[in-house]
């Protein structure tokens, strides 16, 4: 609720209110006359700005080192170089929107090549989450109104009056006459949205971050000098971390090229560290590919996530030999393959073979669960199980022969059945289901793990089809 000459007017309204026909700009008297009961709050620009700032700090810690609040109600997040930590762009925005919804913020999220394009689509397409593929900006913007280009409403109105309704119209209009009549603004905004002209983002800084920063009087052009400088910064960051007994879990390197463009590199560590060598090992490869443009003017290195790391006594006379530290190796492997692809497998209490394993982070403390050593398990497990054709007696005989991948195999010896019941706690599908597992051996000595869906008597327990689930060694 704000004020203008007409008295109290509506600044913003909830989704339900908007659906009911309330519009920002209506006077409160008008709205109350239509809707009767209204819950309203006073408009407090300072508090709104502070809330947006808090949200930006959260996004900075969670998603990317380059975040800028875009008042009144927007956030600009540059996820270049940071999206892989969240499993790609799509996963990142889905996660972002979900978390915002959980805090009851109904946000529109868009990923695009440029700030301008993302701004336009997030606000005007009406979709909750939208990822514009790289290079697809012109198509995505074509049908949106010209206001979407961050133009003044009066200017957009003027454009509409001469028949330029959409951004697509603006793209096909010759630039000269347009500039004569409306000035450089429409062309500039269009170029920014299409990525033909740089758009400056001024990233916010987290207050509690440990960071080091260096401006260079001469821009850095060669990668050797860049590496040297980054190493120097790494050392001072590590000293700063040591003074506070902290270790970094994630560090951000921002490079500012001549011309104002920021580039971000974010690298994570498997265990807290303050060794400059460990920083450099991960940064080095990534730095080779950074776009240096016309030279780098400013470097900014910060520990975006850190945790207490207290110096430990490394050896005493009586201690047992040290367990080698595999942390640095895991960092390197993780940087090469990604977090999800580096894991340990631990046992889960479940009879169902595919549920008896669980991937956990390699440095997770070991749990006590172990698989039952009595039941033989195959070295390779097919996921999903391969359907096979068999000749078998119901209900509890192993197959006499089976055909897998077009090859018929005669079963000479077999063990089983090992009956595994569905886990009713998991849901309706598991309620009645049964699998009868057999280990079988063919003439060559190859051993396979087969199962039949169902108990061989009642069709309620499964379809009685046969599957090959694994291969023994």
């Amino acid at each position: 609720m704000g004020r203008d000459v007409r008295g109290r007017i509506i600044q913003a309204a909830s989704r339900q209110a908007l659906l009911a026909g309330l519009r920002p700009g209506m006077s409160l008297a008008h709205a109350s006359a239509i809707f009767g009961q209204l819950t309203h709050y006073e408009f407090d620009p300072a508090e709104d700005a502070a809330a947006l700032e808090r949200l930006a700090q959260w996004a900075l810690r969670r998603y990317s080192p380059i975040v800028m609040p875009d008042p009144p109600a927007g956030l600009v997040i540059d996820i270049t170089g940071a999206s892989h930590l969240h499993g790609g762009e799509t996963d990142l925005v889905t996660d972002l929107r979900r978390r915002l919804l959980n805090s009851r913020i109904d946000a529109h999220v868009c990923v695009a090549d440029t700030w301008g394009a993302a701004h336009a689509v997030a606000r005007f397409s009406g979709q909750g989450v939208f990822c514009i593929p790289s290079g697809g900006t012109p198509e995505a913007l074509g049908s949106l109104p010209t206001e979407a280009l961050r133009l003044d409403p009066d200017l957009a109105d003027g454009l509409r009056r001469v028949g330029l309704e959409t951004i697509g119209d603006l793209m096909t209009t010759p630039r000269g006459p347009l500039e004569l009549r409306f000035g450089p603004e429409p062309g500039r905004r269009l170029d920014q949205a299409l990525g033909r002209r740089p758009d400056l983002i001024t990233p916010i800084q987290a207050p509690e971050r440990i960071e080091v920063d260096h401006h260079f009087s001469d821009p850095i052009l060669t990668s050797d000098i860049l590496l040297q400088e980054v190493e120097r910064l790494s050392r001072s960051l590590c000293e700063a971390l040591e003074r506070r007994s902290l270790g970094a879990l994630e560090i951000d390197l921002l490079t500012n090229a001549v011309g104002g463009e920021w580039n971000a590199l974010r690298v994570g560590f498997s265990s807290p560290t303050r060794h400059p060598e460990r920083f450099m090992r991960l940064l080095k490869d990534r730095l080779q590919n950074t776009d240096r443009g016309f030279g780098i003017e400013r470097l900014h290195l910060s520990a975006s996530r850190s945790t207490p790391l207290i110096a430990q006594q490394c050896e005493t006379l009586t201690s047992s030999p040290q367990v080698p530290d595999i942390g640095p190796l895991l960092d390197v492997l993780e940087a090469r393959t990604g977090k999800q692809r580096l894991y340990r497998i631990q046992a889960v209490e479940s009879d169902c073979p595919e549920r008896s394993v669980e991937r956990v982070s390699p440095l997770e403390p070991p749990n006590r669960a172990r698989w039952d050593p009595r039941w033989p398990r195959p070295a390779r497990l097919l996921e999903p199980p391969d359907p096979i054709e068999t000749i078998a007696l119901l209900p509890d005989q192993p197959p006499v022969q089976f055909t897998w991948k077009g090859v018929r195999r005669r079963v000479l010896r077999a063990d089983g059945p090992e009956r595994i019941h569905g886990e009713w706690i998991r849901g309706q599908d598991d309620w009645m289901s049964v699998r009868d597992y057999f280990s079988v051996e063919d003439e060559t000595g190859e051993r396979y793990w087969l199962f039949r869906e169902g108990d061989g008597v009642s069709l309620e327990t499964g379809s009685h089809r046969w599957f090959l689930h694994g291969i023994f060694g």
Partner: protein, 253 residues
């Protein structure tokens, strides 16, 4: 090469060759199999720790290399420290490795999208030096790649296992090409130890040591790894009665 009587002249010569060898200045021990008949085939009395070893499956096992994977797991079970297992197809079933004696807490899996990335991870892990061993399921292994891996393994004293696994039988001809690995093995499944009643006895493998540096080749018929990763010399070879106990397998209804 016949399993030998002591030959001082030959041993002396070997020691001198080892001294002038390209990088083989490090004598970092061996990992015995604990089966005398196998161990005496190695000049040093066991599988050399600092080196690259190639293991492939034979017969139908060429494509899934299940027995080969368990053979490697059995060897790793007797080493200490973490084991990095690099793969491109995540179909390895961890409980089976645990049954071959390799504890699940010791194994860290690295999934790579492509072979090239897999080989880099393999090499990085080998260079670390603090691991019990590194296993990588690779299809192609060129002379150059294997040489790099061998040097990395020698420098750090970590055993590396290239578990050869192909997508098609036609690709498996690659196994004949020379590599810089210290040893080359082929593990094929054999019909299991016969039991008196019905059921499957302890798995048996034909273990072929096709090539080894400084040594000869050999074939063994063995019983698959037990719960501590040890191979059993097959009763057929030793002329002893079957040692495998019939598994108590009933419906756990």
């Amino acid at each position: 090469m016949p399993p030998s009587l002591p030959r001082p002249a030959l041993d002396d010569l070997r020691a001198r060759i080892a001294r002038i060898g390209p990088v083989g200045q490090r004598a970092t021990g061996v990992l015995p199999f604990g089966v005398p008949d196998i161990d005496r085939r190695f000049p040093e009395g066991g599988l050399p720790l600092s080196g690259l070893h190639e293991v492939a499956g034979g017969g139908p096992g060429t494509l899934h290399a299940a027995a080969a994977a368990l053979f490697v797991a059995g060897v790793m079970a007797r080493s200490a420290g973490h084991v990095i297992w690099c793969l491109t197809r995540p179909d390895l079933f961890a409980p089976a490795l645990a049954q071959a004696g390799l504890d699940a807490d010791r194994v860290i899996y690295v999934e790579a999208e492509r072979e090239a990335a897999l080989l880099t991870c393999f090499e990085d892990s080998l260079r670390h030096g603090g691991l019990g061993g590194v296993v990588a399921e690779v299809a192609k292994l060129s002379m150059v790649a294997s040489r790099r891996l061998q040097l990395a393994a020698e420098a750090s004293g970590t055993p590396g296992f290239a578990l050869r696994r192909w997508r098609r039988h036609a690709d498996a001809t690659d196994f004949g090409h020379p590599t810089a690995a210290l040893t080359r093995w082929r593990i094929s499944a054999l019909p299991s130890t016969p039991l008196e009643g019905a059921g499957i006895g302890r798995a048996r493998w034909l273990v072929e040591l096709i090539r080894q540096r400084n040594g000869g080749s050999a074939d063994f018929i063995v019983e698959a790894c037990d719960a501590t990763g040890r191979l059993g010399l097959s009763s057929n070879m030793a002329g002893r009665p079957a040692v495998a106990t019939p598994r108590d397998k009933q419906a756990s209804a």
